[in-house]
């Protein structure tokens, strides 16, 4: 996309001062903002994302959720460059269908994660500018979260935040879900209701401090009964 201003770091504006002659090159990437979050519980998983699609100073859409349902037990959250998010989810859907038709069963969350890793690394020299987080249930029915970097390095976590507000949310999750950096606190296992409430609170905080996060929050709760979605309004400014 031809951007009207050059981006230095993702999501940060370049300072408007004259720095000498600069060669303007076409950049195939754009940063469309958005935050994604996933939490794994004992028998559930939650994938949540905001629904704002922005570019530079503009908001393209207030209703563009970043969670995509892959199977009955897996949801993927993709944030970063929206064009690459769309293409990547299309490719994943196609590969899921191929697997289903040739192996006569749905791909498990772990298998989807491994496949996504190779898809992303196939573009090592021209990466998909997407931060992915997969949330779902593993073969035993326990919650699983797999977080990726844009070139395919991944690992299984209990909770992970990705996207523009990830650096703000991750420490909060470390503290509240991982009980890190606290002394003398009882480690209570996370219930589904408490997890959903925590996710909502965390996004409200993110919308306060990150300009690219806001408008609405889409929460997908994955249990063995299926996937339930709910939408919660956030700040629109």
């Amino acid at each position: 996309m031809l951007s009207s201003h050059a981006f230095g770091d993702p999501g940060k504006m370049k300072d408007y001062h004259y720095a000498g002659p600069v060669e303007q090159r076409f950049s195939p990437y754009a940063f469309n903002g958005g935050t994604v979050l996933a939490v794994a519980g004992e028998d559930f998983a939650i994938v949540a994302s905001d629904t704002r699609l922005s570019e530079g100073y503009s908001i393209h859409s207030r209703d563009s959720p970043k969670c995509y349902k892959l199977t009955d037990t897996t949801v993927i959250g993709c944030s970063g460059f929206h064009g690459d998010c769309l293409t990547l989810t299309k490719i994943i859907d196609a590969r899921l269908k191929m697997y289903k038709h040739s192996n006569n069963k749905m791909m498990t969350s772990g298998a989807i994660a491994a496949m996504l890793s190779t898809i992303l690394y196939g573009r090592r020299f021209f990466p998909y500018y997407v931060y992915n987080i997969i949330g779902g249930l593993d073969e035993e029915g326990k919650g699983a979260v797999y977080s990726f970097d844009p070139v395919g390095s991944y690992q299984r976590d209990t909770y992970k935040a990705g996207g523009s507000a990830s650096a703000m949310l991750q420490p909060l999750l470390d503290n509240q879900i991982g009980f890190k950096n606290m002394e003398g606190v009882q480690h209570v296992p996370l219930t589904q209701d408490k997890a959903v409430q925590l996710v909502k609170d965390v996004f409200i905080s993110a919308a306060e401090r990150d300009v690219y996060t806001g408008d609405a929050l889409r929460v997908c709760v994955i249990t063995k009964e299926g996937i339930k979605e709910q939408t919660v309004p956030l700040r629109k400014d």
Binding site: F7, D9, P10, R25, F26, S27, P28, Y29, F31, G80, R95, M98, S102, M115, S117, T118, I119, L120, Y121, G122, R123, R124, F125, F126, P127, Y129, S147, D149, P150, V151, G152, S153, Y154, Q155, D157, A167
Partner: protein, 342 residues
Amino acid sequence: MALEDVCGFEETLLHRKWFPASYLEDSATSYRTTDSYNSGLRQEKSVGNNGTPLHFLMPALPYSTTFNRRRSFPVPPANHSVTVRRPFPLSHGTTTLGFIFQGGVIAAADTRASAGGLVACPAVHKITPIHSHLVVTSSGSGADCMLWERILAREIRLYQLRHRRRLSIRGAAKLLSFMLHPFKGTEVCVALTLCGWDKEAGNTDCVQRSEDSFSQDATAIAHSASPHRGPKLIYVCSDGARLQGDVFSVGSGSPYAYGVLDRELRWTLSKDEAVSLAREAVFRATHRDAYSGNNVDLFLITAKGWSQRKREDLKEEYYRDMERRAKRVEERKRLTEIDASR
């Protein structure tokens, strides 16, 4: 994946149907324009399918010739002078180490993955077992290491299936080095240390030659009867280096680790001493290096295979160290007071 290759499955029509890289290839040819704003994709016409880790898509660049060769490994274009600028940092920065002693090979690493100034993940596994007697410590770019370890494991397994014997550690290192060679000069950044134990003798005529030049040094004699059996430590990196040695430390924290290791490292260490030395080296490196930290992973490889020590949080070790220092300061103060009062 490995079994498909052995059975020659990739050559059949069914395989092309199951993994139709063709849908991407057709669109790639239509994107192939020659104006300077070319941002389409050019696909390698290689044998590998779109699912395996060896199939790479290259951005179509000006000045590069059409690349239409059939190879088993994809090769990036020679004059890769113009690259697409990435808007995000990748994970880098680490401390890993490995050394050989009389009880086997120790491999230790920290667990922090940093991307720019952010800790992308505080609990990464930098030491990966490949098979029962080979463990690989990785440093460099996280995604590159993960995928290249996967490729190495696949190729070692293929060798085992085809030749009915396990590839030696030196052979595995050579294989990895040759696989990485086409990517020399590109952004691939991989520095792996293969730590393993060779159970069988390798090439027999090599054994003859090296027995002649055997030095009478005590450590050389202690290094097992045949130089091709026993503990091995080999460093392979994407720049093309392939080095066999007794101690290696890789990463941004390696100078600090070397400092600690060089003091105490001897062939005659006991298992507990070696473990505590490795732990101490990683701990001191994580203390001084900003890009290393969090926990320490420790693996011990012996003739029986690899075993892993429980991952240890270095935060507790740091507090214990602070307490020890405080006690020493107290002790010193007490002694000087006693001296002064005399």
